[in-house]
Chain length 194, copies 2
DNA sequence: GGCTTTTCTTGATTTAAATCAATGAAAAGG
DNA sequence: CCTTTTCATTGATTTAAATCAAGAAAAGCC
């Protein structure tokens, strides 16, 4: 079915699959539609599925005494979930919800475990997925330690121009660890010097 | 040989190996001794090997206009390397050097690639290694966005008491994204309220 | 042991960002 | 369409941490 085309397009870029393998893996996937501003995962619940974003956008965040801190955005082609909760089946420490009407391709924990056992290419795909995420996160953390706010914002705009278009500014501020007011002032300064 | 015992002890905790498998993997490893304060990797070089710390300690850091920012410490049982550089064979963006006399178990890129192809258990080991590192980094990044300095320092002390003993305080400050002066004052405040 | 270097602490001052407060603009929703 | 939220900007003030500066303590080395 065309429903999983995008998922397998991304998969094949990492690990090429035969048609049979693709059908095998597809049988473990389910589709899930969620409307805008609905919760996909709440802190304290177990993250039962890992999600690939077919359509729409989500945010992952933590809440620390009333303040939301956005950890990650996910748009089409990205995956999202609370990995620790998913793998260990312990309560999640993050919240995940949709920013727009979304369509998710879900891999349940049971499906994930079984595929790891029976389909080496799935393990390779997952390894590459996590490796990429780790490298990106390390870069991001490193930047947040060493670069001034202006450069961190410019880097974000350059790297994720689509997210800048689709996500409210105050959420990007939260992602960068700033208040909305500060980001507004940073932007003002940057447009002046351009 | 006993030289690799500690490496395989850690490996077996993630993925149990038979003696034959262990010997097979061992034939791809090399041992490396480095004296205190020597470089293991410099920015701009390609990270030719990923290192497991048998003995000693290292730090990974970036330099941004003269300022060092410590990304990671590695003591016995940890692994360290510039993962992006290692996998892509592009120039490293990080520096890595020893803090004490150290002994490293090295896996070269060629060995890594070959083992991934011929020994599924090595792939599983590596997947679990990176998965753990990713989860830990996400937690750390999340804390650095949301927790006040005091709690971040307490969390560090609780999680890595050994590193606190062995590493100069100003490097811990750098790891936490603080100046040495600020960390000194944070510590003073914490001992008072205890 | 004494000398040098590194590390840590403390104080005074500056600076960057948060907070507080208000207004205007845009988007969402009936 | 109008009303209500949500969102972005701007200004004034406060606050936390960086910076600047100096001295004390500890560690490393001939």
């Amino acid at each position: 079915m065309a429903l999983y085309d995008f998922y397998f397009q991304q998969f094949n870029e990492k690990v090429p699959l035969t048609n049979e393998e693709q059908e095998q893996i597809q049988s473990y996937l389910t589709l899930n539609k969620i409307r805008k501003k609905q919760s996909f995962l709440q802190e304290g619940e177990v993250c039962k599925s890992y999600a690939f974003v077919n359509k729409g956008s989500l945010r992952k965040y933590s809440i620390e005494n009333g303040n939301e801190h956005i950890i990650q955005f996910a748009i089409e082609g990205w995956t999202v979930g609370d990995l620790l909760s998913f793998l260990s089946e312990e309560p999640a420490t993050y919240h995940i919800d949709t920013l727009e009407d979304s369509e998710l391709v879900l891999m349940s924990k049971a499906a994930h475990d079984e595929l790891l056992n029976i389909q080496p290419k799935y393990e390779t795909y997952f390894r590459l997925l996590i490796t990429g995420a780790y490298i990106a996160l390390q870069r991001r953390h490193s930047f947040s330690l060493s670069l001034p706010v202006e450069q961190r914002y410019m880097d974000f705009v350059e790297k994720y121009p689509e997210i800048v278009q689709r996500v409210p500014q105050h959420m990007i501020a939260s992602y960068l660890g700033l208040t909305p007011e500060t980001l507004s002032r940073v932007r003002k300064k940057l447009t002046k010097h351009k």
